[in-house]
Amino acid sequence: MLIFEHSRAGRRAIAQGPAQPASLDDIPAELRRTSKPLLPEVSELQAVRHYTRLSQKNFSIDTHFYPLGSCTMKYNPRACNTLAMLPEFLGRHPLAPESTGQGFLACMYELQEILKAVTGMKGGVSLTPMAGAQGELAGVLMIRAYHHARGDFERNEIIVPDAAHGTNPATATMCGMVAREIPTNKDGDVDIEALKQAVGPKTAGIMLTNPSTLGVFERRIREISKIVHEAGGLLYYDGANLNAILGKVRPGDMGFDVIHMNLHKTFSTPHGGGGPGSGAIGVSERLAPFMPTPIVGKEGDTYRWLTEKDLPQSIGRLSAWMGNAGVLLRAYVYARMLGREGMKRVGEFATLNANYLMVELKKAGFELAFPNRRASHEFIVTLKKEAKELGLTAMDLAKRLLDYGFHAPTTYFPLLVPECLLIEPTETESKEAIDSFVEAMYAIRKEAEADIEKVKGAPYTLPVRRLDDVRAARQLDLKWTEVAAD
């Protein structure tokens, strides 16, 4: 039932909002609203009950194991939320004088410094991008600005491995560049020969995730770095998989010129059902002048915003203010609780859990996409054989897992592995949780062997069965109207 269906004309959550209207007689009639907007008219209890019940229809980290590859669904410590929501932080206006935000700015400045240390990006960190994709946009705009500042206007190609996140090529396009795809070899590394042929005077840069979306570390990263740099291009690091290497190796040391970090992955800020994220960026020294503003600067004991006046070559602003400040506060609290030792343990245990789960699934008879490689913090199972022999697809298995109380792994990504499941357990899951996931995977394959139709009908125990996506796209129903109510 929709909230609108609880609505009755004239009902109100009376304690909310002013009880009486004020006069609008000084606003010209032709600028005033004539129709009542279709907002629900419900009591406070009805609204609270409705949305509480809706929440119960979700899987979440707090309720379920969530091994969603490339998404790093780790525990989001409650203290991060509580401390970011102190009334003084929530009440501060973004344009209030800097003197009223020294405590907040101290947190932001220290977070910049911590992220610099973690990534080895010596040129600096800007916290302003509001999600990974906006961090990518900032990064490619900086690469473009760097070439232009050198009078080099010909470089308009961004090289992207075929395993890359969809945001990488989409970002290149959005920045007025052309995305040029290069293949991956059978062990999951970039095809070096193809790279050599792709680079040239039109190369603006390359976008890489390392460990890659195939769940393996790009072993020849130094060679790649050399090839691209010698061709005059720069290296962009997609930080989606930073969790795997936290405290073990740093993008700055690998030769990257610009990186974004998904703080909603590695630094455990919540995913919130699809955001807000935070895509802080870090740069090498040569890209420092181009960073997006604002950035927090420190003079003596005082913090202040650095703006276009301080960075005249900046690519400019990407948000009205400074990005997702409240998300950044959560990341700061998390980073301080982990500390230096804790961060190393994140990389170690994320990797331990992934390798353990990979081995256990292999023992249970599942085929690995890259059996000769170590897992990073994630790995890929391919159901090519099951699909052919049993008719069991990655989608079927994913949906059946929901009935067993596990969120599905990432399915059908990366695109180049058939029937793939990209699995990332994260460091905060216990051995028991991982073991029971393996049991569920095994049980589902057994089910498929006995009765494939049963698996294909899944899920059975969720609020809805499998949904008709084709109908959703063909018979667009994107909003409720009173006429359409059934």
């Binding site: 929709l2 109100r12 909310q16 909002g17 000084d26 606003i27 005033r32 129709s35 907007p37 907002l39 629900p40 406070e44 409705h50 509480t52 979440s60 980290i61 969530y66 401390l83 009440g91 501060r92 206006h93 610099k116 509001m130 990974g132 906006q134 989409a170 290149a172 990263i221 405290g247 073990k248 190796v249 995913h271 919130g272 059902g273 699809g274 955001g275 400019g316 990407l318 948000s319 203010w321 400074m322 997702n324 409240g326 609780m337 230096r340 994140v346 245990f349 331990l352 353990y356 929901l402 899951e429 969720l462 609020p463 809805v464 499998r466 949904l467 796209a473 667009l476 129903d477 994107l478």
Partner: protein, 455 residues
């Protein structure tokens, strides 16, 4: 503290299963020369109690002020239930609803949100959010260029009365697409965009015109005339609006004879706290005919294999994870949790509550302007009707006055002379329903003191 549950025994069992003798061995594919031993520059770990103490101390240092700034971020009362429910783990720690069957709560909520926003703006469809108001305007400009195929110029008319930071963001994001923004001046007297300035563009290929309501000065624009101009000159009309104001102001879908094409804006006033500028959320709505060019996630209602109603992400062929380099935008993660708060906020207020919030904000701003302009040396800058903000002129530089008010616990307004040098000693002030008559009297007395003591 790393929130890691493993016992020593379990670590040993897991390593044995893998067939290695140490965790360190698991990193043996990383070239040795790249490995680091320690994260110099990262401080030692703190317990929850220790970090709690630091954060409380910093929050107290920042303090709480009586705020009279709006300028794109507005302090409204947020019902307690909004964030109590929004931070429930099931909303707070869920991922993007790609697995629809396991995400019906978030998906249905987003469908309800889309319904509310479409109605509030008077448009056919809404997406499920963008990052913030400024980047939503940039995306709206990119969308207009894609959608208006007949127009080749990529010229967009941008009133100078649009939020200056929004204009900067639009520049930064659209610059690589060869989009040119032509600035439309505002009327010296009214503070609204000069309609006569549009004459210069008649007969030319203009892709779109941006129409703010209210504008950055708080002034109401003649949105009907501007929308009709767009229609008559074959340009798309992009409205950038305050959602609270829409409860009492004409919906952009009804502006002029036929309404606008795209509506965008900052969703923060709908239940999201100020929190130094984020996270907020951008909203975007459009006419049906443009829906396939809209960026961001969209939720559709459909049925499951038993015919039961359910909700799912739809029109994903627009998006980066499917279309890659040909996507409408690179946006992936949006601001889902903020939309959760906004949806609960709108449900709790309802049409009457939101309209009262809007009209009382307007009424309190009228009182504020009246009280402050009674003071010698303070006058209203523009004559045009306003919503809940107004530009005041002081008889002296603004910054020292702002500093002196701060000493009295008041954040007195925003010095817009920095963005509009021609306005000189101008102060943009705002009141919402949260500023009582007593707050306004307190501000007026404080401003009077400051101006008199320094005179």
């Amino acid at each position: 503290m790393s929130f890691i549950p493993h016992t020593e025994n379990e670590i040993r069992e897991m390593l044995d299963a893998i067939g290695v003798d140490s965790i360190e061995r698991l990193f043996d594919e990383i070239p040795a020369e790249l490995r680091i031993d320690d994260l110099h520059g990262v401080p030692e770990a703190l317990s929850e109690m220790e970090i709690s103490r630091i954060m409380h101390a910093r929050a107290q240092r920042d303090g709480q002020y009586l705020n009279f700034i709006g300028a794109g971020a507005y302090e409204h009362h947020i019902p307690a239930a909004v964030w109590e429910i929004t931070t429930r783990g099931e909303f707070y720690t869920a991922y993007t609803p790609y697995q629809a069957e396991a995400s019906q709560g978030t998906l249905q909520l987003l469908y309800e949100y889309q319904s509310m926003m479409a109605s509030l703006t008077g448009m056919d469809v809404s997406n499920a959010s963008l990052y913030d108001g400024a980047s939503a305007l940039a995306e709206a400009c990119l969308m207009a260029v894609r959608s208006h195929r007949k127009s080749k110029s990529r010229r967009i008319l941008m009133p100078a009365s649009v939020h200056p930071l929004y204009r900067k963001v639009a520049e930064a994001i659209c610059t690589t697409q060869n989009i040119r923004f032509e600035l439309l001046p505002y009327d010296e007297r009214t503070g609204a965009t000069r309609l006569d300035a549009l004459k210069a563009f008649e007969g030319e290929d203009i892709t779109a015109i941006v129409i703010p309501q209210p504008n950055f000065f708080g002034v109401l624009e003649d949105v009907n005339a501007m929308t009709d101009w767009a229609r008559a000159n074959d340009a798309l009309a992009i409205a950038v609006v305050n959602p609270t104001a829409l409860a009492v102001l004409r919906a952009p879908g009804e502006w002029g004879g036929q309404g606008v094409d795209i509506v965008c804006g900052e969703g923060q006033p709908l239940g999201v706290p100020l929190s130094s500028g984020g996270p907020y959320f951008g909203f975007m709505c459009c006419r049906q005919e443009h829906v396939r060019q809209m960026p961001g996630r969209i939720i559709g209602r459909t049925v499951d294999l038993e015919g039961k109603v359910g909700y799912a992400l739809t029109l994903q062929a627009r998006e980066q994870h499917i279309r890659r380099s040909k996507a409408t935008s690179n946006i992936c993660t949006n601001q889902g949790l903020m939309v959760t708060a906004a949806t609960i906020y709108m449900s709790l207020l309802g049409p009457e509550g939101l309209a009262n919030t809007a009209s009382v904000s307007h009424g309190q701003t009228r009182k504020l302007v009246e009280a402050l302009t009674k003071i010698d040396g303070v006058s209203r800058r523009f004559e045009g009707a306003f919503f809940h903000e107004s530009v005041l002129m002081l008889d002296r530089p603004v910054q020292p006055v702002i500093d002196a008010l701060l000493e009295k616990g008041i954040v007195g307004g925003y010095a817009i002379g920095n963005d509009y040098p021609e306005l000189g000693n101008a102060l943009l002030v705002c009141a919402t329903e949260t500023r009582t008559d007593a707050d306004i009297a307190h501000y007026a007395a404080a401003l009077n003191d400051v101006l008199r003591s320094a005179a």
